[in-house]
């Protein structure tokens, strides 16, 4: 015999829209019921479904320091937290230098979602199925975090700590994403496997980066995998395997197989763990192949 737990009706929700980072940090640090709101494409659904009942919604969109901007400097690209995915898709430099990131940004939801959703939000949400973290991981991106204790930086690998968990402390906000420019001889790619060609949550998604040395060998690589573990994972074993080797299709296939080492997929509505495991080598090899072609083209 069971009866649903009694729950009080949701309390009145308050809304704040600070215009500076320091104000936002103060509010968020001081109120455990406060929830930051970026693009809101996930938060809104959670509020509507009653998954969360925030006492205070802190809208980050008017924070000057986080205003939409993509800056390109020597050797690095910086994307301010409030930059919507659409801006990333449309940025010519990003399109040329970081095609893998564009490919990931382009398949996040719909145009309507991408006009609203941000990389920062996609990362902060820490969904294992998110599209952009794998490629950001592969690209060695880091995030700039500001909180009550000041500013710090984290690599994506260190930011994403678990299933929907990040290393962000209370009051900390992700204010920018910094991506090193891969330079000549580098290429990136993103691939997503799903049942539908748009508006899809991946069965497996892969971001890949390949950096070639002058002699054509792989000097370094990066791989990120989504939907195969509680968090976005990085198969460093595959990266090690590739390092210093002349790329061959057999090598890339071996790297694909090696990527399974970090995968611990589950059965869910979208696919079985078994299928996911079978697809990891295929998808990793394919993403590496595309990244390699691009790397060769930029030399």
């Amino acid at each position: 015999m069971s009866a649903p737990a009694l729950s009080e009706p949701p309390q009145a929700v308050h809304y704040a829209s600070p215009d500076s980072l320091s104000k936002a940090v103060d509010i968020l640090a001081g109120d455990p019921d406060a929830t930051p709101l970026a693009g809101g494409t996930d938060l809104a659904v959670a509020i509507r479904h009653g998954v969360i009942h925030p006492g205070l919604i802190v809208d980050l969109k008017n924070i000057t320091e986080m205003a939409p901007a993509i800056r390109h400097s020597d050797g690095s690209h910086s994307i301010a937290a409030n930059t919507p995915m659409t801006d990333i898709e449309r940025d010519h430099v990003i399109r040329e230098r970081l095609p893998g990131l564009v490919e990931a940004a382009e398949v996040v939801g719909s145009v309507q979602i991408r006009n609203r959703a941000t990389l920062a939000g996609n990362l902060s949400n820490a969904s294992p199925a998110a599209d952009t973290p794998p490629v950001l991981m592969a690209l060695e991106a880091s995030v700039v975090i500001v909180g009550p204790a000041g500013e710090r930086r984290l690599r994506i690998d260190d930011l994403l700590t678990g299933y929907r968990e990040t290393a962000l402390e209370r009051g900390e906000l992700l204010v920018a994403i910094e991506i090193p420019d891969p330079g000549p001889g580098a290429g990136s790619a993103f691939l997503k496997l799903g049942v539908r060609r748009a508006m899809e949550i991946s069965i497996v998604c892969v971001g890949a980066r390949v950096q070639l040395a002058d002699d054509g060998a792989i000097s370094s690589s990066g791989i990120g995998l989504g939907s195969v573990a509680p968090r976005t994972v990085r198969p460093t074993g595959s990266e090690e395997l590739l390092r210093g080797c002349q790329p061959t299709s057999e090598l890339l296939a071996e790297a694909g197989r090696a990527a399974l080492g970090v995968c611990n997929p589950i059965d869910d509505l979208r696919a079985s763990a078994e299928y996911r495991r079978a697809m990891v080598p295929v998808m990793v090899e394919r993403a590496l192949t595309i990244a390699l072609e691009r790397a060769r083209a930029t030399r």
């Binding site: 015999m1 069971s2 009866a3 649903p4 009694l6 729950s7 009706p9 949701p10 009653g50 496997l193 049942v195 539908r196 060609r197 748009a198 508006m199 899809e200 949550i201 069965i203 509505l269 979208r270 696919a271 079985s272 299928y275 079978a278 697809m279 295929v282 998808m283």
Partner: protein, 752 residues
């Protein structure tokens, strides 16, 4: 004097949709857009499991919450709690004592605002005990240990009363057991639970009137709703006014009353208008298509002639029957499809379960049967080494052939449809490696009975007002009727006002279903126009002092012995000094035949041939639809643009159940993917790269100018055509829908 429409400018053209401007400007009012002052908002209270015993419902805390006006439970309803349903009156207005499926409402919160109603739902405490052993699958339903979904007392004389078999339908001709075949192909096919997923979730409102009630609903059958409400409330029909704004998509899911009786009781109890607008997720708990497991055993001669077909069809219907048993009975009657099969045995069972009551959905059971039969024929073609197109053509019934004993004969040159599809897909051309082609045929019978009335008023300036009880849910019925009236009465579509969706204004129509309206209501409209023409003829003859035989009125013109004029001019002359109008009435009655297994013969058939070309990624199992052809035998395309829209639309809906759609349940019968995130329908990006919709037009249908109904044809054979193409592309055979990448991958792996 029969008009063929040949000289009528408006037949075969595509004027803008009647109601189109409202649809592109946002001014089209759907139920949820209708604002009633002082209206209360309703939110349903449901349990988080399928089958439960309700112990008590405590509404006190919810009723104290701000804005809440009342919480209605079964105890607040007349006792015994009224029940309703189109086939059996089995569905209670609110659950009585137990819930039988996930989402069956146990109470309804009524509040001043929607937010207040939603918030208070959480304050209703339903003490309940989840009952284990619910019936969620066919195996559960056939297991003698399973609990009975419905009480045996409800059908005391039924031999199946002590089982979960609601009904068994058996159709037999010839001698299956004595037929000798060179090859027997015996396979079983699965078709999943699909939901209608109209983009407009169901909306209902009711407002008490001094002497009755007005009910708003996005319903396909307003007159059935009127009858249901009148019976349940004990009101004369004339005191129940049903307003049925054009539904935002129906697809069968809005045919029959659902929560209208509940909303009506709430409006009467509160003496205020009340509205219930479902969310998309709630529609999954309201309507679905019947899932099925179908075993087909077919016998063939070495030359591909079908010797016999033997079907065992198990259809899993829901907790209440709705119209699902009719779906099972009617579709299975056509299990053997458009072929000449001398020996047939069809045994079809409708099995009750603790799931969303399944109801009509576009295709009405035929997609399930086509999936099984056409896939089975495809296997035979492969085993016999005969081209699957040729094998089908060899067995296809010719026009006029009585391919089912005692049933309407084949009403089209069906081979033309197959040949056209084959030509458009390039059936005999070479394909690159990794690609494959498939072809399949679907046949559905149209309505078997019908009753439609239409009233048309020809006003003194030649413009027209037309009254019809059809619901225009996107199929474009308003436009079709306006075209008929405009053609017959010589005016423009823009000068015809089409009034629908109000039972206090429009004459009776049985229903909007089975692609019937252009044919049945179309004929009623045509007859109403002919009635006007006859009256006009008499008036004009009198005016010019002629014998009536000297006056001809047709296709918008009045012809006198030495003079002709348009009806728009003639009507003014005919009406004389007082003016006024000419009123025409039309009636179309299909009585049916009580001795026929379906209660009547098919008025027409919908025949479609689908051909497609796919590329399969053999590593991932992904399918790329490179080319897709659908051809329907439409009689005539009265409005070609609308025919294309219906045809492509049904094909894309069919690709949904073929490639990605299925409702998933957990072990408690909970629907796991209740909404758009995890239940996927095709997006614009998923449409085949090249999509070709074509028609065969021989003007051989029973509707005006030779038309047939066309709105369901192109989803009948989608799944078998795609599956066949997948087999041809990569060698694997899929027998369970949907054909997901994972299923292809698994089949490929097992093949290795």
């Amino acid at each position: 004097m029969t008009s063929t429409g040949e000289t009528t400018e408006l037949v075969g053209r595509s004027p803008h949709r009647v109601g189109g401007v409202d649809r592109v400007t946002g001014s089209q009012e759907y139920v949820a857009d209708v604002r009633l002052p002082d209206a209360l908002h309703i939110q349903l209270v449901t349990l988080d499991c399928a089958r439960a015993r309700i112990i008590s419902i405590d509404t006190a805390r919810a009723e104290e919450a701000p804005g809440v006006v009342m919480v209605m439970t079964a105890d607040d309803l007349p006792q015994p709690v009224p029940r309703h349903g189109p086939q059996f009156q089995d569905r209670p207005v609110l659950a009585v004592g137990e819930t039988k499926y996930h989402g069956e409402p146990v109470a309804a919160v009524v509040a001043e605002t929607r937010r207040a109603a939603r918030a208070a739902v959480e304050l209703v405490t339903v003490e309940h005990e989840e009952l284990r052993g619910g019936v969620f699958t066919l195996a559960d339903a056939l297991d003698p240990e399973s609990p009975l979904v419905q009480s045996p007392q409800l059908r005391p004389d039924d031999p199946f009363a002590e089982t979960n078999i609601l009904a068994e339908h058996k159709y037999v001709w010839g001698e299956v057991d004595h037929a000798e075949a060179d090859l027997v192909v015996d396979n079983t096919y699965q078709f999943p639970m699909i939901t209608q997923f109209a983009i407009e979730p169901h909306g209902f409102m009711a407002a008490p009137q001094d002497d009755g009630i007005t009910v708003w609903s996005s319903v396909q059958h307003p007159f059935l709703l009127q009858k249901t409400i009148a019976r349940i409330l004990g009101l004369p029909l004339a005191r129940v006014r049903v307003l049925a704004p054009d539904p935002g998509g129906g697809f069968g899911g809005k045919q029959n009353p659902k929560y209208e009786p509940l909303v009506a009781f709430i409006a009467l109890a509160t003496r205020r208008p009340a509205r219930l607008i479902l969310g998309l997720g709630e529609t999954f708990q309201t309507v679905r298509r019947t899932s099925a497991t179908i075993r087909v055993r077919s016998g063939f001669d070495g030359d591909g002639t079908i010797v016999f077909q033997d079907f065992l069809s198990d259809f899993l219907i829901g907790a209440y029957v709705d119209i699902a048993d009719r779906v099972v009975g009617k579709s299975n009657y056509l299990a053997a499809g458009p072929y000449r099969v001398p020996n047939v045995r069809i045994v079809a069972r409708a099995l009750l379960s603790h799931t969303t009551p399944s109801t009509a959905m576009r295709g009405f059971g035929i997609p399930q049967l086509s999936w099984a039969r056409e896939s089975n024929i495809d296997e035979a073609a492969r085993q016999l080494g005969i081209d699957p197109l040729k094998l089908r053509l060899r067995n296809l019934a010719a026009r006029g052939e009585e391919f089912i004993p005692g049933e309407t004969a084949a009403d089209g040159k069906w081979a033309e449809t197959l040949e056209k599809a084959a030509e458009l897909i390039g059936w005999d051309t070479d394909l690159p490696a990794g690609r494959g082609r498939g072809i399949a045929v679907g046949l559905k019978s149209g309505p078997t009975t019908g009753l439609s009335y239409a009233t048309v008023r020809l006003l003194s300036d030649g413009s027209v007002v037309l009254y019809s009880g059809t619901s225009d849910m996107g199929q474009g019925a308003r436009t079709i009727f306006a075209q008929i009236a405009a053609g017959e009465l010589g005016t423009l579509v823009g000068s015809v006002r089409v009034v629908m969706g109000d039972t206090s204004l429009v004459p009776y129509d049985q229903q909007t279903s089975a692609s019937r309206s252009s044919v049945l209501m179309g004929n009623a409209v045509l007859r109403a126009c002919r009635d006007i023409q006859a009256k006009l003829r008499a008036l004009i003859a009198a005016h010019y002092d002629l014998d009536e035989s000297e006056v001809v009125v047709e296709e918008g013109m009045v012809m006198l012995p030495d003079y002709e004029m348009k009806i728009t001019r003639a009507v003014g002359i005919a009406l004389g000094r007082l003016g006024g109008e000419i009123i025409g009435n039309g009636e179309l009655r299909v009585e049916g035949d009580p001795d026929h297994p379906l209660g009547g013969k098919a008025v027409f058939y919908e025949l479609n041939c689908t051909a497609c070309e796919v590329e399969v990624d053999t590593e991932t199992g992904e399918i790329d639809l490179t080319r897709y052809v659908t051809v329907g035998d439409v009689g005539r395309a009265l409005n070609p643009n609308q025919v294309t829209g219906q045809d492509e639309g049904a094909a894309i809906m069919g690709l949904g159940h073929t490639l990605m759609e299925r409702m998933m349940l957990d072990e408690s019968g909970r629907i796991l993917n209740m909404g758009a995130v995890d239940y996927r329908i095709l997006t614009a990006m998923d449409v085949p790269h090249q999509m070709i919709s074509a028609s065969v037009e021989n003007a051989d249908g029973p509707g005006p100018y030779g038309i047939k109904g066309i709105s369901e044809g192109s989803l009948l054979a989608t799944a078998p055509a795609v599956a066949s193409a997948v087999t041809s592309a990569c060698g694997v055979v899929i027998r369970d829908l949907p054909i997901t990448p994972e299923r292809i991958w698994r089949a490929k792996r097992e093949q290795r």
